[in-house]
């Protein structure tokens, strides 16, 4: 989240889209209800289903799955064409005035640089026009037709309310009614927030979707303000922590992974350290060498020296364009290119797209280690033929699977110390409530034991890649069971000479004199102690920032980009509601997202970006500098804007023998998968209370579709896609409205996740149905908006 849970109470308008917080974040949802009660905030819910959030909303707008960019693009057009943008904010805090290169253009669904043969973009034209000093040229008047603002206005002029209605399936009136409320925040004194979750990330164009939301919030002047922002509601207790620590496709602190073309540390730093694009840009990522050097010092300790590039050579390198995200490595596993796999805190058979492909891939391994609280579908994959009954027709019998499977019992969250990082970016320290049962051990002990055992084997037998293992700093008091306090202190960072904790990332150096395991967490455990364990409830600003409660990254800042809550001169846009203020010599209030004593005109407000201002236009993403509506990879209709470039042209679609895509003639209905309040992912089907509250797998069907098919509530139905099928009772409901799209009726079929072939309550895995299609930027699979058929069994 740019802001945080408590901050939602400060808003005037809540747009919930691509999320369902009343169901999936019911505790955090209290702040939405507080805003409704205390500030008379309006809640707008845009979703294919009339869900529990819609039930308490002021305005509900139905929308076809996968058309969110069209809706948000429509809001951008609505705000601009109705003069509802916060133009003072736009001028000061965004790249609206930057001039684009003359060769940048967009036509027929493709941006300039499209190579139809290679199906790839050359991004050269997606840049600003630069002056002699390498800075972007600007036109403060916004008159130049090549300035970002004008280009954006042109780009979204196609997204009229009527076009939105044609694509999304709502009516133009429904759209306009919601747009009027959302865009009412485009002025000083009123603010709106956007809450989203996996309903936005589970698309083949998900990162662009969130980019569109950020653009809308910038146009309305809602970024950096209390009650504003673009707020991702994270789905697991520590998923934010795993993202920050680089458990996915990054090094800790969002540093990029080394690649084959960057064999030296110098070449890595050159490629990953941005240069400022405006004279007043602080360009904080210019400090990348300090963060990266300190990380290498944390990894390799005294062995990391300037002479040996601080051990950079010991880090593994990805191939030049290699993608090692989820869909790609399972594809490799399916092609028998992997030998072993350790699955920690994940249940790939249940979570991954196209379950049967997951099962086939795991059967190609020599060994699989699963570290879990329960025997999961992944641990029991070898028995899926028997347990999963009829859903895996191609799959082999247990006796022909040669994979050696080892299930290590792991302690659950309440059985170990450590920190949780929530959606608000708060690092909250917790203590074990009970010891782990039986032989179960905490994850870090399991990792340490594996590490020490592998190192001992290398010591004895040697082998390829020995040096990184041997030089890895492992100076914990108990090497087989490092305390998480020690790890947390290491993550915060130390002065190499004195061994003292650094006070924060500003103290990090690129000469090897400091170490730091994750620069964004630096400041969480200083010489003052473990700030994550704080529970102070003081609220000096009255805005619910609670600066002494836990510790928030970065630098205990509660609202990101808070400099933008002020105008160019440092005056709050809303003086009754100011998170930071310039008192003439320094900034007071929240930790400023700015140099604390820099006068308001010294830097641009967006200190992390080379532009110094926020970006409507960016060359960072794969499919274009402006978000464009693309249909899901499986769609019932052609793209109404450009039928010949219907889906995202650069989204990866896997093509293994287990992958196939469906067409609307055979699979006419749009399916979405989602979570229910009553369960947590694939865990609580093992737990008594969750099992009672929702014991049964079910399929939500629109009344009209059920009538056409002669299906009554409770009848067993089969839902099938080009990949597989599920079966269960139908929940027939008017809450799944039929939508009119391009003159035809489109029905959604809703399928909750949570069941599987092991557990206290069981049911089919919904990912039997889903395609191996991914967002090109994040590698997230497309679970919302794929095609299925429905039959009565």
């Amino acid at each position: 989240m740019t802001n945080g849970w408590c901050d939602i109470a400060n808003t005037d308008v809540v747009l919930v889209m691509g999320g369902n917080p009343a169901e999936n974040h019911p505790v955090g949802f209290r702040f939405v209800m507080e805003a409704k009660r205390k500030r008379k905030a309006k809640l707008i819910c845009v979703d294919p289903r009339f869900n529990r959030t819609a039930a308490v909303s002021d305005t509900y707008v139905p929308l076809r799955a996968g058309t969110d960019i069209a809706f948000l693009g429509g809001l951008i057009h609505y705000a601009i064409s109705n003069d509802l943008c916060h133009m003072d904010y736009v001028r000061v805090h965004t790249n609206a005035s930057f001039l684009l290169r003359e060769d940048f253009h967009f036509s027929e669904g493709h941006f300039s640089g499209w190579d139809a043969e290679k199906k790839a973009y050359d991004k050269t034209s997606w840049q600003y026009e630069l002056d002699g000093a390498g800075y972007a040229k600007v036109d403060e008047t916004l008159e130049n037709p090549r300035c970002v603002y004008r280009a954006m206005k042109d780009h979204y002029s196609r997204y009229t309310p009527e076009k939105v209605a044609e694509i999304c399936g709502c009516t133009a009136d429904e759209f306009k009614k919601a747009a009027a409320v959302i865009c009412s925040t485009g002025r000083a004194g009123r603010v709106g927030t956007i809450l989203y979750a996996l309903g936005w990330t589970h698309h083949s164009h998900s990162v662009q979707l969130i980019h569109t939301a950020a653009m809308l919030q910038l146009l309305l002047g809602n970024i950096g303000l209390p009650g504003g922002g673009v707020n991702a509601q994270r789905g697991h207790a520590n998923i934010q922590g795993s993202t920050d620590m680089g458990a996915w496709n990054m090094l800790p602190g969002y540093l990029r992974l080394p690649r084959a073309q960057w064999q030296t540390f110098d070449s890595y730093l050159k490629a990953t350290t941005p240069k400022p694009l405006r004279p007043n840009a602080m360009n904080y990522w210019g400090n990348t060498p300090k963060f990266a050097t300190s990380l290498l010092k944390a990894y390799y300790g005294a062995a990391a020296k300037k002479e040996n590039d601080f051990g950079y050579a010991w880090l593994p390198k990805l191939g030049e364009t290699e993608n090692q995200s989820w869909g790609f490595f399972f594809d490799r596993m399916h092609r028998k290119e992997m030998h072993g796999f350790i699955s920690f805190g994940m249940n790939p058979v249940a979570n991954g797209p196209n379950t049967e492909k997951m099962l086939e891939a795991l059967a190609n391994l020599d060994w699989l280690v699963v570290v879990e609280n329960f025997e999961t579908e992944t641990a029991a994959f070898w028995n899926a033929k028997q347990l999963g009954e009829k859903f895996y027709p191609r799959y082999v019998d247990a006796k022909s699977i040669q994979t050696e499977v080892i299930l290590l019992p792991a302690a659950c969250f309440a059985e170990k110390d450590g920190s949780f990082v929530n959606s608000s970016r708060w690092l909250q320290w917790k203590r074990a409530a009970v010891p782990p049962p039986g032989l179960a051990k905490p994850d870090h002990e399991i990792i340490a034991r594996i590490f020490m055992a592998v190192r001992a084997l290398y010591e004895k037998e040697g082998g390829a890649g020995k040096e990184p293992l041997m030089t890895m700093q492992w100076n914990y008091e108990q090497p087989l069971m490092p305390s998480l306090e020690e790890v947390a202190r290491e993550v915060n960072g130390k002065d190499a000479a004195t061994g003292q904790q650094v006070p924060g990332f500003a103290a990090l150096k690129d000469d090897g004199s400091t170490s730091c395991g994750n620069w964004v967490y630096s400041g969480s455990w200083t010489e003052a102690g473990n700030l994550m364990a704080r529970r102070g409830q003081e609220d000096p600003t009255g805005l619910g920032l609670f600066p002494n409660y836990a510790w928030s990254w970065p630098a205990n800042r509660r609202i990101l980009y808070n400099r933008a809550s002020n105008d160019a001169d440092g005056k709050p846009w809303d003086p009754t509601h100011a998170t930071i203020r310039w008192n003439g010599t320094k900034w007071t209030g929240d930790t400023p997202d700015y140099k604390a004593d820099a006068e308001p005109h010294q830097y641009g407000a967006f200190i992390m970006l080379p532009e110094g201002v926020a970006k409507f236009f960016t060359s960072d993403l794969a499919e274009g500098p402006f978000p464009e509506h693309y249909e899901p990879m499986e769609s019932p209709v052609k793209n109404a804007l450009h039928p010949n470039a219907s889906a995202n042209p650069v989204a990866p679609v896997m093509k293994s023998s287990a992958d196939s895509m469906g067409t609307p003639d055979k699979f006419p209905y749009v399916a979405i998968t989602y979570r229910l309040t009553e369960h947590f992912h694939y865990w609580t089907k093992h737990v008594a209370s969750g099992s009672e509250l929702q014991s049964n797998f079910f399929v939500e069907l629109p009344e009209g579709l059920a009538k056409e098919k002669g299906i009554k509530g409770g009848d067993v139905v089969r839902v099938s896609s080009a990949r597989g099928s599920v079966e269960g009772p139908a929940l027939v409901t008017p809450r799944m409205q039929p939508l009119k799209v391009a003159g035809k009726t489109v029905y959604h079929v809703g399928i909750p996740i949570h069941w599987g072939y092991v557990g206290r309550v069981r049911g089919p895995l919904v990912n039997n149905l889903t395609p191996s299609v991914f967002d090109p930027n994040s590698g997230t699979p497309e679970y919302k908006g794929f095609l299925v058929n429905v039959e009565k069994v």
Partner: protein, 265 residues
């Protein structure tokens, strides 16, 4: 000083149907978790059960083309004039505490089921296992120890409030005004008029149609029951006789009393 009458306010405009109150109720009352029953809704069970005293009803409606999904928690209403108590022939099986809580004392219950007939809200449930009747006690044990009922303690959206009836009547009126100002002209308080008021109060956006929430529009104690404790009060007043007859009936029907804690699910 007379005990303050306590109450629970359910502001349905803030209910998100998360069922946290259901879990809290089950856990505090040490009910065994069993399995839900699918009935084409999101409800855990189609109705209350002897071992399930707090149920959120999910009411789906379409009016003028617009969906609504009204969620309302359903449990004992703790009536000022309890039909169950009026109907009960077994002394001490149903008591109305000085704080207004209507509590069932299973050790005195004879399993006759008259309370079920007497309840205008269809709340008490007879257990086929223990042959006793069960319902929400408004956590009389917790309240007696100065704590808030479990459901209210766990509610994440402040849909549920606990306090003195006087205060909550005032809060309910204030919320009604807020909802009216928000455009819900039909907003109002549901306070069981036919039963002298209930110590469970609801704020409804559609107060003229409580049945949309699964609440009876005009709750009344059946006339047969009113008669039993009204003009025919002398029958009930023969307490000793009542107990003796009741105990006899219970013995004949179910056999000797057995106390197995594990039977009380």
């Amino acid at each position: 000083m007379p005990a303050t009458t306590v109450a629970k306010l359910i502001d349905t405009s803030l209910c998100i149907g998360c069922k946290a109150c259901e879990v809290a109720c089950q856990e505090w009352n040490e009910q065994e978790f069993t399995l839900g029953v699918f009935n084409n809704t999101y409800q855990t069970l189609p109705d209350l059960a002897p071992n399930f005293w707090n149920l959120i009803k999910f009411n789906e409606q379409v009016e003028d083309g617009a969906n609504s999904w009204l969620m309302a928690k359903y449990q004992c209403m703790h009536c000022a004039d309890p039909g169950c108590l009026k109907a009960c022939p077994a002394p001490g099986a149903i008591v109305q505490l000085p704080n207004g809580i209507v509590d069932f004392r299973q050790e005195n219950c004879i399993g006759c089921g008259y309370c079920i007939t007497g309840c205008p809200f269809d709340v008490p449930r007879l257990s086929p296992t223990t042959k006793k009747v069960y319902k929400c006690s408004l956590c009389s044990d917790r309240v007696g120890a100065g704590m808030t009922p479990a459901c209210i303690r766990t509610c994440p959206t402040n849909c549920l409030t606990f306090g003195s009836r006087t205060d909550l009547v005032e809060l309910a009126a204030q919320r009604t005004e807020e909802l009216k100002a928000d455009g819900f002209q039909d907003a109002g308080v549901y306070d069981g008029p036919g039963v002298g008021g209930t110590n469970v109060l609801y704020v409804l956006k559609h107060a003229s149609a409580p049945e949309k929430y699964g609440l009876p529009k005009d709750p009344r104690i059946p006339w047969t029951v009113s008669l039993w404790k009204g003009p025919l009060k002398w029958v009930a007043n023969a307490a000793f006789l009542g107990t003796a007859v009741g105990a006899l009936l219970h013995y004949l029907k179910f056999g000797p009393k057995e106390t197995h804690d594990d039977e009380v699910h």
